[in-house]
Symmetry: C2
């Protein structure tokens, strides 16, 4: 049975989900529901640990790709603050591009079915054989909690990969493979057979970020590979292992299916000697997928031409609190989202706008100061117990984030603006973990410089506005000026809600309204929630629409007279 | 009845044509087959003439758009070499952008059906009321023959417009407007209503070229408008009237349908003071569609960011003559294509590669010199009779092209390379017409500098190669290095044909094989032939695929708890 046949029913189910955008996933949403969960989790932990060297040693990640000229490895676990001491191959990128180019010719000629089948098999292999290994790798590089590493960096990322395949298929199948065309010219009938072929654009470079590597990478890789291209993965040097494992699985499955494994390779650099600009401007780069900082992302967007460029950087995600029939529930949900993975997600809210005169509730107006205090209390309540804090806050990926927290705390204290001061909490399993509870500052719109732009990490601002409409105007201006992916609104005024929907649609942030309860406010569901709109500076890589896939391949044709008779 | 209902059956027929890519058009292919042809043609001529002033005067093209700060007009008819003396409004472009932005809000909120209906009505209005007026305007600016102006710049351009609507619709309809999503989180079921809306990217600037304005412009305008954007048209100052008429029709139909006519405006410049760079880098430009020179096109591509950019510039279109079972028929077809509109089409061939040892035919090898001579003879035969020459060659749009012909003729003579010398021919209806028969040079691959890159106009090179494989290698290298839209092959060797199909597919030129008879070799049929692949320097605006439309709009969403019960 072909790999396409093997996975066709699942792919077809995914097509329906993408069309209808309801809730669906072929994967269990929690680690405990994984088949034979206990054994699988233990095996995954062992697989992760097998990458680590004995004390005082360095291990070598085996990746048999061409062009290896040395080794690199500088990862430090946010959980132990110890170096992982894993060495990965350092590649001569010209050799990788050449190998990718050679590999592409056979892959490009494979049928759509064949490519989709192989790529579904890749995702299946990650799910069946490497999911918990990847989860531990994500924990000890990105610093996520185990549950988030399983869901957000595991099954949900696999789902986004399948979703990208669905759209790639849709774009490719919209091109017929052949046509018979006939028309009279004068008295003669011209009868032509036309054949159309899909030609990949070339080699894609996929940049992955430090805090959330797989969730954007897997769909980007699927989009490029499904349309016939090769992919060179350039991981952030702080978070290599999840992508090294991924690259190896891609290579193994491609090779087992009879294709050249050099369709997927790893190009690592070090923080001391970055190769990002070299890769973006390399004459053989045809596509760039970038997830990372706003600053480098903007450079990438400006300099990628003639390569195509798909980006997800970051933004200023906003909240507008106008009114609520259950303010405490709203504040609990907001607090949860402010804490989730210490707000190191591109969807985490930062700027919380509240009318100065207060928030309307069934019990009357709740003053601005009271709202701010209750929100801070809700955050404090979530983070007071180290065990609960560990589940929700996890760790701080980068020491730079701690430095930013320190600086902003000091500045905030000097100004008397600190609503909640950050502190390290003791992680119950990893006493050396790099941790921090959130910093919350209370400001007014006169102090915009403080919150104008993304402050990466568990940092939020509760901002007093002149009115609800002012709150909305400020919030949507943030999105337009600094980029924004998500937005959150609490209001029981349908007119206000309608205005907010229009304002955020224009600014290009995905809006969640009046959501309370156990779902994280910033949860983005594959097959249903569009991620990144392309309307502001937060990026243009919308997971997943046709624009994310349709330009990754080109259409060529040949035509010739149909043989007579 | 809504405009969508009015045109739905036609649109649905076009959807089928795009899916199957067979031959179809709702329009008659020759002027004589137009309904009530004689009266319609006479009315069209009168409408054209009504734009012209009395002798010694200037007329004013009435276009009631905002921001008019003066008038401009420098068109010269290639048929009379006299100024048209028409003044068009010169606009303050900031006013146009502001007006476009205001106009977009209502248009963006209209349904897909509504927008498609209005735009089908625009095309229908051009067809019913302005087709022959546009044809005469194209003749006296671009210099095309009447028949080509009717077909290539008339009905075929309308077809490409409908085609763009089909793909815009396909991309937009792939996004559902709402979804119900529910999933358990812990013990609680979260049930969300999600709404998705399509948000236009912003204002598009559509650059149109001097020699073939409508064929690229109408589909580009349709693609932008269908997806909710506004369009500012920037015509080449030599060829304004066809676009001014078009813009006026768009505005009239939009207004009649209840929309703001400032969705479509005209921004004219002069050759002395071009505004192209200002428009491309204007902060409110969201999309650029460019048809024009390679040089400025490359500047546009490099500088359009953050605007999207769709280009069709030009290239080095190639011919490979390997063998033929009817060499004279092949040479006649080639000769016709070399003459068609004096090779001022982006699809006209230029570099004709022939093995030095000759071309295989049933009568044996025909030597390189003999092939070159017979091809030149075929061109001469087509252009000897002024009446026939007028039909096929039409005029030379620009005096610069005549200057290039002079220079290359002199250089070629000095080298003894002239196979056929150009000369003006007397146009039977327009004795002052700017005309030239083709220049053909005979060279070898040692003289590549002569033909490396596009030489715009009726200029071709017959080039001796080492072998058929060398011919193919040279030809596909031209496409890769200098861009190329079309390619032509004559061969009865199926292995060679297969190699050529692969080589041209990789280089990105659309290949026509062994075509003889009355169909012009470079005829590109709407709904069937993909125009521009995006794989080489000739541009990336493929008429029409999903990539041409899918990024012109973005998707935003909002989600909120579904009311209980």
């Amino acid at each position: 049975m072909s790999l396409f046949k093997k996975h066709e029913a699942l792919l077809d189910r995914a097509r329906t989900a993408c069309r209808e955008r309801h809730c669906w996933s072929p994967f269990p949403d929690m680690p405990g529901k994984y088949p034979n969960a206990e054994a699988a989790q233990a095996a995954g932990l062992r697989a992760f640990e097998s990458h680590l060297p004995a004390a005082g040693q360095r291990s070598r990640f085996a990746l048999e790709q061409p062009g290896t000229v040395g080794v690199l490895g500088e990862e430090i676990s946010p959980y132990t603050q110890q170096a992982l001491n894993i060495d990965y191959p350092q590649a001569d990128v010209d050799v990788l591009f050449e190998a990718a180019s050679v590999a592409m010719s056979g892959w490009a000629q494979a049928s759509i079915d064949t490519r989709l089948g192989v790529l579904m098999e890749v995702l299946d292999a990650i799910y069946r054989e490497h999911l918990f290994e990847v989860a531990h790798a994500v924990m000890h590089t990105a610093g996520q909690s185990y549950n988030m590493a399983y869901a957000g960096s595991g099954v949900n990322a696999l789902d986004r990969g399948i979703e990208a395949l669905v759209y790639a298929e849709q774009a490719m199948r919209s091109v017929t493979t052949q046509a018979h065309w006939q028309r009279p010219f004068g008295k003669e009938l011209i009868s032509l057979d036309k054949t159309y072929r899909l030609v990949p654009r070339g080699t894609a470079v996929c940049f992955t970020c430090a805090s959330f590597p797989t969730w954007n990478a897997w769909p980007s890789m699927m989009a490029s590979l499904a349309t016939g291209n090769a992919v060179i993965v350039k991981p952030h040097p702080a978070t290599v292992l999840p992508m090294a494992i991924s690259v190896r699985v891609f290579r193994q499955v491609l090779q087992a299916a009879g294709f050249d494994p050099n369709l997927v390779t790893l190009a690592l650099d070090s923080s001391a000697e970055p190769i990002g600009k070299l890769l973006v401007t390399h004459p053989r780069t045809a596509i760039v997928d970038f997830t990372g900082s706003v600053q480098f992302g903007q450079w990438v967007e400006r300099n990628a031409y003639p390569a195509l460029c798909f980006t997800e950087t970051a933004g200023c995600n906003t909240v507008v609190l106008e009114s609520s029939d259950d303010l405490d529930a709203a504040l609990r949900s907001l607090a949860t989202t402010l804490c989730m993975f210490s707000a190191q997600m591109c969807t985490s809210p930062q700027n919380i706008y509240v009318p100065r005169q207060g928030v309307r509730t069934p019990a009357g107006l709740v003053s601005f100061d009271e709202v701010a205090r209750r929100l801070a209390n809700a955050v404090e309540a979530l983070t007071a117990d180290p065990k609960k804090a560990a589940m929700i806050l996890a760790t701080i990926q980068s020491a730079q984030t701690l430095a930013l927290l320190d600086r902003l705390s000091a500045d905030g204290q000097a100004r008397g603006a600190v609503l909640l001061a950050p502190k390290s909490y003791p992680h119950p399993e990893f006493p050396q973990a790099r941790t921090s509870t959130p910093l919350m500052l209370k400001l007014s719109t006169a102090e915009r410089a403080w919150y104008a732009g993304e402050k990466f990490g568990p940092i939020s601002f509760v901002i007093a506005c002149d009115s609800a409409d002012d709150a909305l105007a400020q919030a949507s201006a943030d999105v337009r000026e600094f980029g924004g992916l998500t937005a959150f609104l609490y209001s029981d005024d349908e007119d206000f809600i309608a205005r907010a929907e229009t304002a955020y649609a224009r600014a290009g942030a995905q809006l969640t309204i009046n959501l309370t309860g156990p779902m994280p406010l910033n949860f983005a569901a594959a097959y249903s929630d569009y991620h990144v709109t392309g309307l502001n500076g937060a990026g243009n890589a919308s997971l997943t629409n046709l624009a994310f896939v349709a330009s990754r391949f080109c259409i060529t044709q040949s035509r010739r007279p149909r043989p007579v008779g």
